[in-house]
């Protein structure tokens, strides 16, 4: 796992290698400095030799400046390396997520993916930055001090070795208990994100129903959970320091006691004892720093696991080995297609659907709420894969196409239309990056969006708020249709995309489309019979089944469901009396 994540250091490898080298050099100077200081005191100050004082002073000054530069540079490179590493990780994650199918995304949930991309990456970034600096500095300090201690007195230094097992066990226990709690904590973070996100998206509902208190109590439950879990995890981690301190203090006391005996029995000098003490202090300092890294590591490990879960997730929607890069025509054939969102054959949303649509046909789809109209058409651009059976476009199974090729040729206007923050122009150009301003105006005229756009002071450059919140439902729908028209696809699916548009406009849009994209196979899902009656054929959906396929006249004379819908809309409905 670690290896896989560290691969993303990528182009920042250079900085990641230079940093520890700089740190090592800095540590080397740091170790020389006290020795020079000692010399300055012994040879300069103690003897009153001003020449020596100045000489050593200059050496020390130069060393300090070099150490300063090295330290500054290592910090700089560490920052570059870790921020770069984090950027690569985020990019990689985001790219990965873009390749996910909806079932992949559902598995993680949107809010969890957001936490993974930000909070988790930040944790790894911090740990990495600390690692490449302190993981060199502290062990070097530690080893150096240990060597010095051993060179002074072997027997006395054995004390250090005695406390090592104690330390390892102690810290092991800390990890053992803290890690599972951190795993839990991040899951609660996902929930926190989810509650906030839903609250934001549904803020109008919250306020309309005066449910601020209710939302608050939901939120407080989650934040209470975070509080509890984090408190527990951090409390366990808080034992880190005391465990280390105990070990080091024990060493100090033992050295004082045994060292004193050795000094008295003349096998150790007082000066050596003082040095032993100094090195013990240095060992303490370096271990202390290590323990800080250690805490970050425990948290980062959890985050790294969550990141690699995303990186390891294989997208359900995979290209064939030899994908097709050309969609010959806009014909669509469904052969015994069954589909379930859960991939469960017992919970089929769509059952044994069969149909054969020729290229260029206009197909209306009508059916009750929840009759799987949307499920049917979503299989064409492979938003989901069939559970059983096959969907063919242009004579080939949709799974045989390169996904991008397929989707380039299948345009779809979703029922739940989404616009993005940016100008109207930006949004429209999703359909075709190269579209000229004339193209934009033309399709907007077709989708009957031009009129209201012209009323905006900034016209096509007017800003669209998040989710298109500053536009009315009908305005959004018309922009979404214009956006899809720009694609000039071989197949165009309109999923109830004129529900907020009046009949007349609806008709104008359909008429305009005939001229704009003739020869395009068009599927029109609608509630109104008027929206589909002049289609070449109409599919009647009922409870996940294709109930009938035929022309308006055929269905009107044969199909009871269609008759009912028609009658209910005709009776006393002026708008249909044209």
């Amino acid at each position: 796992m670690l290896k896989k994540i560290l691969q993303n250091v990528g182009e920042y490898k250079k900085e990641s290698i230079i940093t520890p080298i700089l740190v090592a050099s800095e540590v080397a100077i740091d170790m020389v400095i006290p020795l020079v200081m000692a010399l300055m005191i012994d040879r300069g100050i103690e003897t009153g030799d001003t020449q020596a004082i100045l000489r050593y002073g200059v050496v020390l000054f130069i060393l300090a400046i070099i150490a300063l530069v090295l330290g500054g540079l290592s910090g700089r490179f560490a920052a570059i390396a870790s921020a770069g590493f984090a950027k690569n990780l985020r990019d990689k994650l985001f790219i990965r997520i873009q390749s996910f199918s909806f079932s992949n995304i559902d598995q993680f949930s949107t809010s969890s993916l957001i936490t993974r991309l930000t909070t988790d990456v930040t944790n790894v970034q911090n740990a990495y930055q600390v690692s490449i600096r302190l993981l060199v500095r502290s062990p070097l300090n530690f080893v150096f001090s240990l060597i010095m201690a051993f060179s002074i007195n072997k027997e006395l230094s054995l004390i250090y070795l005695a406390v090592v097992p104690f330390l390892v066990i102690g810290l092991g226990v800390v990890i053992y208990f803290a890690h599972p709690i951190f795993v839990k904590v991040f899951r609660i973070y996902d929930r926190l994100n989810n509650v906030v996100q839903e609250n934001l998206q549904g803020i109008r509902v919250v306020k309309s129903y005066v449910r601020e208190k209710h939302e608050e109590s939901k939120f407080k439950k989650v934040s209470e959970d975070i509080y509890k879990s984090f408190s527990r995890a951090q409390s366990i981690v808080a034992f880190n320091g005391p465990i280390l301190q105990s070990a080091i203090y024990a060493c100090m006391l033992l050295i004082s006691w045994l060292g004193a005996k050795l000094v008295v029995s003349s096998s150790l000098t007082t000066g050596e004892l003082v040095s032993m003490f100094t090195y013990t202090m240095q060992i303490l300092m370096s271990l202390n720093m290590l323990s800080m890294v250690f805490v970050m590591m425990i948290i980062a490990r959890t985050s790294a696991e969550r990141i690699s879960q995303v990186l390891d997730e294989e997208s359900d929607l995979k290209n064939n080995d030899a994908p097709l890069y050309d969609v010959p025509d806009g014909s669509v054939v469904f052969s015994d297609v069954c589909f379930s969102y859960a991939g469960d054959e017992n919970k089929l949303a769509l059952k044994h659907a069969n149909m054969s649509i020729e290229s260029g046909e206009v197909i209306g789809i009508i059916g009750g709420t929840g009759s799987s109209k949307t499920s049917l058409v979503q299989l064409i651009p492979r938003l989901y894969d069939v559970t059983m059976g096959s969907v063919k476009v242009g004579g080939h199974d949709v799974r045989d196409y390169d996904l991008k090729t397929l989707r380039d040729q299948v345009g779809m206007v979703l029922q739940k239309n989404t616009l993005f923050r940016g100008t109207i122009k930006d949004n429209l150009r999703w359909g075709n990056e190269e579209a000229t301003d004339e193209d934009l105006i033309r399709v907007c005229k077709v989708s009957q969006a031009d009129d209201f756009i012209q009323e905006f002071p900034d016209k096509c450059d007017a800003m669209v708020a998040q989710g298109g919140n500053n536009l009315s439902g009908g305005q959004k729908q018309r922009l979404c249709i214009a956006r899809a028209l720009l694609k000039k696809p071989k197949i165009l699916i309109l999923d109830d995309s004129t529900s907020a548009v009046d009949t007349k406009t609806d008709r104008l849009i359909r008429a305009g489309m005939q001229k704009e994209i003739p020869g395009t196979t068009t599927f029109i899902i609608a509630q109104r019979v008027t929206s589909v009656e002049d289609a070449d054929r109409i599919i009647v959906m009922d409870k996940g089944l294709i109930n009938a396929i035929g022309t308006h006249e055929e269905l009107l004379s044969e199909n009871t469901i269609y008759q009912e819908v028609f009658d209910s809309q005709r009776k006393g409905f002026g708008e249909e009396n044209v």
Partner: protein, 630 residues
């Protein structure tokens, strides 16, 4: 976007010290007693530390030195000293552990408090705030920004206190040895503080930027995940990735800059200390050689040794100061949110349930099906006005921003029990009118009166509770179907839920769900069709059983057969109550008592279906399909 940029500006112009003060106030307010205890514990732990570093001197001077050369040395005194030291160490360790544990509580507690407070405050903000700020960026306040506080409160505060204590004690010791040398130290420490301030100022600026960039990245991810289907249908992954990469690059840049300065702090400080040492040695050495101010060689050596004791606290300070700066960057954003002006809500008239007893309105705790407005008067008395659902607009003009009016001089009256419909092209201002009734936005000109009360005088909660609203865009919440319907009335029984579902004609599909009413819906009801979601939203409104209802394209995704059934149910429920309906299908509004035809923010025709047909105006032309709504 432009609004967020403005926020950026207010961020950087805020005073860091002010933010620090405010943040500390949060920490100190609730945990005063704890903090006193922590202070004592820190002193104990620092004391143990200092004693420990002096211990060797004691061992050598008091125990080893006298024993050297003795043929039969007695170690019992030394043993006693070691034991005592052991005890002090033990106390120090325990004190350290305790204060760390307490700080964990304080730190997590403060974060919880800040999160809760932010959320409460967030939901009190006006709708305009939500329209102009990206969801993902707001979410970042609760995670990334609050997280920055953790290290600062739990680690930096105690460490900085400990460092300050050591600092002061070292200084005191220095003064006793040599005043001139101490002055040099003060001078160089001032230089260090100056450097510290310079560098932390730099990194602080970039940390603020980093948090902002992180929020932007969060916002972009959230928006794109939300529109994932559109991204896929348009094969827009490469462009989305490109856009993400550029936001991500901005984050990398600010993170690099911030950490660059932060990381260089420690080596700079430590080596300035080394330079200071050299300075002291040279000057002290020269002083002692030339006998200036009575400094001896021994004193210089001792002073130099002492100056090395500054290493530990300075080391600590330079390490912790980065966490403090990062926390300030996060806190800055948090306080920006907390300082946003909440919705104006100066109303005092409240909504209560009443019963009619001998012509008098008597307030009731229970749901009675009759409501009244309760007016408190200055003299302490209250009066009640029955809620009848009489809504009037008088010369109302409104624009979402100051220079672009969307409603002009609207006059309308909905009489009690009427079904009032709005017809008009998209963007004619129909939804805007409903936004004004429930005061999502406040009008700039004119008056809106509700049962002859100015809506501004009605408490917002009461006003909104009196209005059941089904909006154009359906939003559901993670939870069971039952919970989602109950959202309209939290005290509703299971029977009420079933009744409401039946009324909204949602029962059929609910029964086909695997767990029926206990089916959990996630991700805004992804598994349900758009029409099914609308049925749930209608059930949610129905269960609230409100005195006045607003239906804004509530049935647009529902097939016409079901729609008719839903409508019949709603008509039954709302019989005798005021209902506002917005719909594009003229069929849905035909039986309304009044139909308002809107065009470009003006009401151009009003009357019943028959009146309007007879008038042969716009409505007639719409109805007969002679003109289009556009």
């Amino acid at each position: 976007m432009s609004k967020e940029n403005k926020n950026n500006k207010t961020l950087s112009t805020r005073r860091p010290l002010k933010t620090l003060q405010r943040l500390l106030a949060y920490v100190f307010k609730d945990y005063k007693l704890y903090l006193v205890i922590v202070l004592v514990l820190i002193l104990l732990s620092t004391y143990a530390n200092v004693r420990g570093s002096l211990f060797l001197q004691v061992v050598i001077d008091d125990h080893i030195a006298p024993m050297i050369g003795q043929s039969n040395p007695n170690f019992s005194n030394l043993l006693k000293a070691v034991m005592t030291m052991g005890l002090i160490y033990a106390v120090g360790i325990i004190a350290g552990l305790l204060y760390n544990l307490i700080m964990v509580k304080i730190s997590e507690g403060t974060q919880k408090k800040i999160r809760d407070e932010m959320f409460t405050h967030l939901d009190s903000l006006p709708i305009a705030y939500f329209d102009s700020h990206s969801d993902g960026n707001i979410m970042s306040y609760f995670t990334n920004d609050t997280d920055t506080l953790r290290q600062m409160i739990s680690q930096s505060i105690p460490n900085l206190i400990a460092a300050a204590v050591s600092f002061v004690s070292v200084f005191a010791a220095m003064f006793t040895i040599s005043v001139p040398l101490t002055l040099i130290v003060i001078l160089s420490v001032s230089l260090m503080i100056f450097t510290l301030r310079y560098i932390s100022g730099k990194s602080g600026k970039f940390f603020s930027k980093q948090q902002q960039d992180l929020g932007n990245v969060n916002g972009y991810i959230e928006e794109m995940m939300h529109g994932q289907k559109v991204v896929k249908i348009f094969n827009h992954e490469p462009q989305v990735i490109e856009e993400f990469t550029s936001l991500n690059e901005a984050l990398r840049e600010s993170a690099t800059q911030a950490n660059k300065y932060a990381n260089s702090l420690m080596p700079i400080m430590m080596n300035l200390l080394n330079v200071q040492y050299v300075l002291l040695a040279v000057i002290g050495g020269l002083f002692s050689v030339y006998g200036v101010s009575g400094l001896t060689i021994g004193m210089v050596a001792a002073f130099l040794q002492l100056s090395r004791s500054l290493n530990m606290p300075i080391n600590q300070i330079s390490q912790q100061i980065n966490f403090v700066i990062m926390a300030l960057a996060g806190a800055n954003r948090i306080f920006c949110l907390l300082d946003e002006e909440p919705e104006t809500n100066h109303g005092y008239v409240t909504l209560v349930n009443v019963t009619k007893e001998e012509g008098q309105l008597v307030e009731s705790e229970k749901r009675t099906g009759t409501w009244a407005w309760k007016h408190p008067h200055e003299d302490g008395s209250v009066s009640y006005t029955e809620l009848t659902g009489d809504v009037r607009f008088k010369n109302v003009s409104f624009g979402y921003d100051d220079n672009h009016r969307v409603l002009h001089d609207i006059n309308l009256y909905a009489e009690p029990g009427q079904k009032v419909a709005f017809v008009g092209a998209t963007g004619a201002g129909k939804t805007t009118i409903t936004n004004l009734i429930n005061r999502f936005y406040d009008i700039q000109e004119g008056k809106i009166r509700y049962d002859d009360i100015n809506v501004k005088k009605i408490k917002k909660e009461s006003l909104r509770r009196s209005l059941g609203v089904v909006l154009q865009d359906t939003h559901l919440f993670t939870g069971t179907i039952r919970e989602n319907i109950r959202y309209g009335n939290l005290s509703a029984s299971d029977e009420d839920v079933i009744y409401a579902a039946r009324l909204a004609n949602a029962e059929d599909f609910i029964h086909n769900l695997p767990e029926k009413y206990d089916t959990v819906i996630t991700g805004d009801g992804e598994g349900l069709s758009q029409g099914q979601r609308q049925l749930l939203a209608i059930a949610r409104a129905a269960i609230a059983d409100p005195p006045v209802m607003i239906l804004d394209e509530a049935t647009s995704s529902i097939d016409t057969r079901t729609e008719k059934l839903v409508q019949a149910g709603m008509d039954r429920l709302m019989h005798g109550r005021t209902v506002f309906v917005i719909a594009h299908r003229l069929s849905t509004i035909q039986n309304s008592d009044v139909i308002m035809v809107m065009d470009h923010g003006r009401i151009i025709e009003r009357g019943t279906h028959d009146d309007l047909l007879a008038e042969k105006g716009t409505y007639y032309q719409l109805y007969t399909g002679k003109i289009e709504l556009s």
